[in-house]
């Protein structure tokens, strides 16, 4: 019992609950690995979890589904000992526990894989896996590296992982880094693994690989709690789904007995249209054109090799591709963050290849960057200051060299309200918002710039379905108004439903440009893996499509 249990405002409930699960079996008689009972966690001004119950059976994948800010991560941080709840009980393996720190949770067999990986970049994979739990030799005078390596090898053999323990983490791909995180938890003897939005950073192929890993883990008796806001993932991977909304649990369902629409409604609290409708629109002149654009990356390797593209007014051109095939470099060249090594970029009929970034912004080019924390926001600044970014010279906010902060504040508050940024606090620093809410804010700022071209990379990455729906609608509204949209996304559903034309990029070249309705999901996956349309065979790599 923690002190907070005694002082709870919800005292009746928590005293009632004491010892109910003493035998390790719940009333239903099933074997619970984790039982959270009436968890309440408050932050100043917000109730993040309000009397939430969660029962997770051993050897299953349990999805925790909810929108951004629904309290999923908070609940798991309580289980992992990062937060102390104001009320409620944490029962692990039938024993009531009070975790003061992650160390306690780790000792109780709980491992957490965070959304932003908790890895030390310059250290090796082996060092990261063992961090904090290093076996030592010579009376603690040295790390027993041989033992670490052999234990990692055993774990890899057992669960079918393939990682090189001597590789440095910053050189490893995101998929490998995630496996390192899972290995880290297993190395500490975790029986319950919490995965916080594990697919947010993965390519479709890597997601498929993750599902295999989860299956292997549960087959061997591990229990998985899977935090997600994506319906497909919950229905595809989970044995049970608990839905959270506004910090409250709205029930646990069996994925076999429900459908996506019903789940979405439960999650958002109203009916949701899952597929954005993109009706044909009359397209106009080419707003953006590139001719033979070639870009070298930082190492001097050609990342973009002679790309020609045209984006017309009132048109969405989608670029699909596995991350790292040159889309980032292409977008940076178009937005002015990088100078192309060859080729020209034309905007509204003018050659803008040599234009500065500022001049491009001032001429109506909006940009939703790939890495929101690096390029989209200044993390320690509040939202008002971030709302000004890019407009710091516009006559609307900075007439006569003086910034009209009241005007900026009004504008920011409009964005917050329209784009449902939570919590709605314009004075809070950008870094205090969750990733999805940061993204909503950036999208709002860029869309409300009155642009004639929107360059959007992964505009809904990490955003919940309610807001995704809104962002999609707004994007299509801009398109109707005659704005040209260049869209890069690794979400195949998104890019297929929004794009009027779809280009597939592979190793810096467009492999195919097509109408998204004329290509099957399967073929699209093959194109992304580098197969050109004229070499049709169907034994290529997995497309990653799960439905």
């Amino acid at each position: 019992m923690t002190e907070s249990d005694v002082e709870t405002t919800d005292g009746t409930r928590s005293t009632e609950g004491v010892g109910r699960d003493a035998a390790g079996l719940s009333e239903t008689g099933s074997d619970l690995a984790v039982h959270l009972d009436g968890i309440t966690k408050r932050f100043p001004g917000v109730v993040a979890n309000d009397d939430v119950d969660l029962r997770v059976e051993r050897g299953t994948v349990h999805a925790l589904l909810g929108e951004n800010g629904a309290g999923k991560t908070t609940l798991m941080n309580v289980l992992y000992g990062l937060y102390e709840p104001e009320a409620g009980r944490v029962v692990v393996d039938g024993e009531e526990r009070a975790f003061d720190s992650p160390r306690d949770a780790i000792d109780a067999g709980i491992g957490m894989i965070h959304q932003h990986f908790m890895l030390v970049d310059p250290m090796t994979i082996a060092e990261n896996i063992a961090l904090g739990n290093e076996p030592t030799k010579w009376f603690g005078m040295a790390i027993d590296r041989d033992r670490i390596r052999s234990e990692i090898r055993d774990l890899c053999d057992r669960y079918g992982f393939n990682v090189d323990p001597n590789a440095v983490v910053e050189d490893a791909s995101v998929g490998v880094q995630q496996r390192v995180e899972i290995l880290k938890a297993l190395f500490r003897g975790a029986d319950v693994l919490i995965l916080d939005e594990p697919t947010a950073v993965l390519t479709p192929q890597e997601v498929e690989g993750l599902y295999d890993v989860l299956e292997e883990l549960t087959d061997q008796g591990k229990t998985i709690i899977f935090i997600t806001h994506k319906l497909e993932e919950a229905t595809h991977a989970a044995d049970a789904i608990t839905v959270l909304r506004d910090g409250e649990s709205v029930g646990t369902v069996d994925p076999g007995q429900t459908n996506r629409e019903a789940l979405a409604e439960r999650m958002v609290g109203r009916e949701v249209i899952l597929e954005a409708e993109s009706e044909p629109v009359e397209t106009g002149e080419a707003v953006l054109s590139t001719r033979d654009v070639t870009v070298e990356d930082a190492r001097g390797i050609e990342a973009v090799s002679g790309i020609d593209l045209d984006v017309h007014a009132g048109e969405v051109l989608g670029i699909a591709g596995v991350d790292g095939n040159g889309q980032s470099e292409l977008i940076e060249a178009i937005t002015g963050l990088r100078t192309p090594d060859e080729g020209t970029i034309t905007y509204d009929g003018t050659d803008i290849t040599a234009w500065s970034r500022r001049r491009r912004i001032e001429n109506g080019m909006a940009y939703i960057p790939e890495d929101r924390q690096e390029n989209g926001l200044v993390m320690p600044f509040d939202l008002v200051e971030n709302g000004l970014l890019g407009s710091q010279r516009s006559p609307q906010f900075a007439a006569g060299g003086r910034i009209d902060w009241d005007g900026v504040r009004d504008h920011t508050e409009d964005i917050i309200e329209t784009y449902d940024v939570r919590p709605p606090d314009a004075n809070a620093a950008a870094q205090s918002f969750s990733g999805g809410n940061q993204q909503k804010f950036i999208v709002g700022r860029e869309f409300e710039r009155d642009p004639s071209l929107v360059v959007a990379t992964h505009p809904t990455r990490g955003v919940d379905i309610g807001s995704t729906e809104f962002i999609h609608d707004r994007l299509l509204e801009l398109r109707r108004e005659g704005v040209a949209v260049l869209l890069v996304s690794s979400n195949l559903d998104e890019i297929r439903s929004l794009s009027d034309r779809l280009a597939v990029i592979y190793e810096g070249e467009f492999i195919d440009v097509t109408d998204p309705d004329d290509i099957t999901e399967e073929d699209l996956g093959l194109r992304m893996a580098g197969q050109r349309p004229d070499e049709e065979t169907h034994d290529g790599p997995d497309t990653g499509e799960s439905q």
């Binding site: 992992y80 990062l82 937060y83 720190s101 992650p102 160390r103 780790i106 957490m112 965070h114 908790m118 890895l119 030390v120 970049d121 310059p122 250290m123 060092e127 990261n128 961090l131 904090g132 739990n133 290093e134 030592t136 603690g140 005078m141 040295a142 790390i143 880290k184 870094q431 205090s432």
Partner: protein
């Protein structure tokens, strides 16, 4: 141009035997070509720089930039002289010679200052640079002030210095024996300290925690290790190393403490910071880097003694100019990601 020390590290990693032989040959040639008095002076002048640099590596690798290391050198040098003066030059107290009591006192005072610095930075979330400057400025004022009270002058009295300790047999090794095995205790401490620092940082779990604490403290926290405790330990360790450097320099090389101007330490703590940046936080690299600056320093002393009419002010700038030039040209130093940032568990 790339960092020559960094390139050396890479060469050692790729072809260890050839690189070691090459380095040894270059070293022996250098030793054969240069006067022995210059070599000995260089080693002795390297003591405060090398030890302060190794201490600074631990603090900064853990995420706490300790630019107060100059201040730690000053207070440890001063207090070691005071204690020896108080106990008496010769003789021993409680079975330990008075010089070693001085050494101990210097280290203790330095650790005490480091502790205050750590508390201010870690508990009260003070800006590390400002707090570090405060440690330096306080030391810079306090040592001459205390000296004025105790000795009625900013300069302390003279005390006895450490004698040479000659290691039998090893000191007979041609070319290097006289240099490495017939020298003063503080030089031994420096050589052993560099190897021990490297071992601690790269081969023990504490060392890995220090690195993780400076790169991604949240990763260390979620791995169940208390970040503050690791940072306290690292900052206190920087106090130990700087204390050994300051007291060793005072008792082995100077035999007195001059509090005038920039004091007897004269910016060596800041040169130490440049040295470890140059060495990309490698303790052995910092040792080699300290030879570079100490070598220039002793060359300047020799030129002055030889009566060359080069303005001393100009000569004095040589080490500092080298620092600037080297740091500008190098640019391969990788600062720990979280250096200078405060970390509090449970905050996002």
């Amino acid at each position: 141009m790339r960092n020559p020390l960094y390139r050396m590290q890479e060469a050692f990693a790729r072809r260890p035997l050839a690189a070691a032989l090459g380095a040894a040959a270059a070293l022996l040639l250098g030793l054969w070509l240069t006067p022995a008095s210059w070599q000995t002076a260089t080693l002795r002048l390297a003591v405060p720089i090398a030890l302060a640099a190794i201490g600074g590596i631990f603090a900064e690798k853990s995420g706490v930039i300790n630019i107060g290391i100059e201040g730690l050198l000053i207070v440890s040098a001063f207090s070691s002289i005071v204690v020896v003066n108080w106990l008496g030059d010769a003789g021993a107290t409680l079975g330990l010679t008075n010089l070693w009591w001085g050494m101990l006192a210097g280290v203790l005072v330095s650790v005490l200052f480091a502790l205050v610095f750590a508390i201010v930075c870690l508990e009260f979330e003070a800006d590390q640079i400002i707090a570090g400057l405060a440690v330096w400025l306080i030391s810079l004022g306090l040592a001459p002030f205390a000296s004025q009270i105790l000795f009625e002058s900013p300069n302390t009295a003279n005390v006895a210095r450490f004698d040479n300790v000659t290691v039998p047999v090893l000191s007979e090794i041609p070319l290097v024996g006289y240099l490495l095995f017939d020298t003063e205790p503080q030089v031994y401490i420096m050589l052993v300290g560099a190897v021990a620092g490297w071992y601690l940082l790269s081969r023990t779990n504490f060392g890995r925690w220090v690195v993780a604490s400076g790169e991604n403290p949240k990763a260390l926290d979620t791995a169940g290790i208390d970040v503050h405790r690791v940072r306290y330990a690292a900052v206190l360790l920087s106090g130990v190393f700087a204390g050994l450097g300051g007291a060793g320099f005072a008792l082995g090389t100077l035999g007195t403490f001059s509090g005038a101007g920039d004091t007897a330490i004269n910016g060596r703590g800041f040169i130490a910071i440049a040295t470890y940046l140059l060495a990309n936080y490698h303790p052995i690299g910092a040792l080699i880097g300290s030879f570079l600056f100490a070598g220039l320093n002793s060359m300047q002393d020799m030129l002055q003694t030889a009566g060359y009419s080069v303005p001393t002010e100009l000569i004095r700038t040589i080490p500092h100019m080298t620092v600037i030039v080297v740091l500008v040209l190098v640019g391969r130093t990788r600062l720990p990601d979280a250096a200078g940032d405060h970390y509090e568990s449970g905050e996002d």
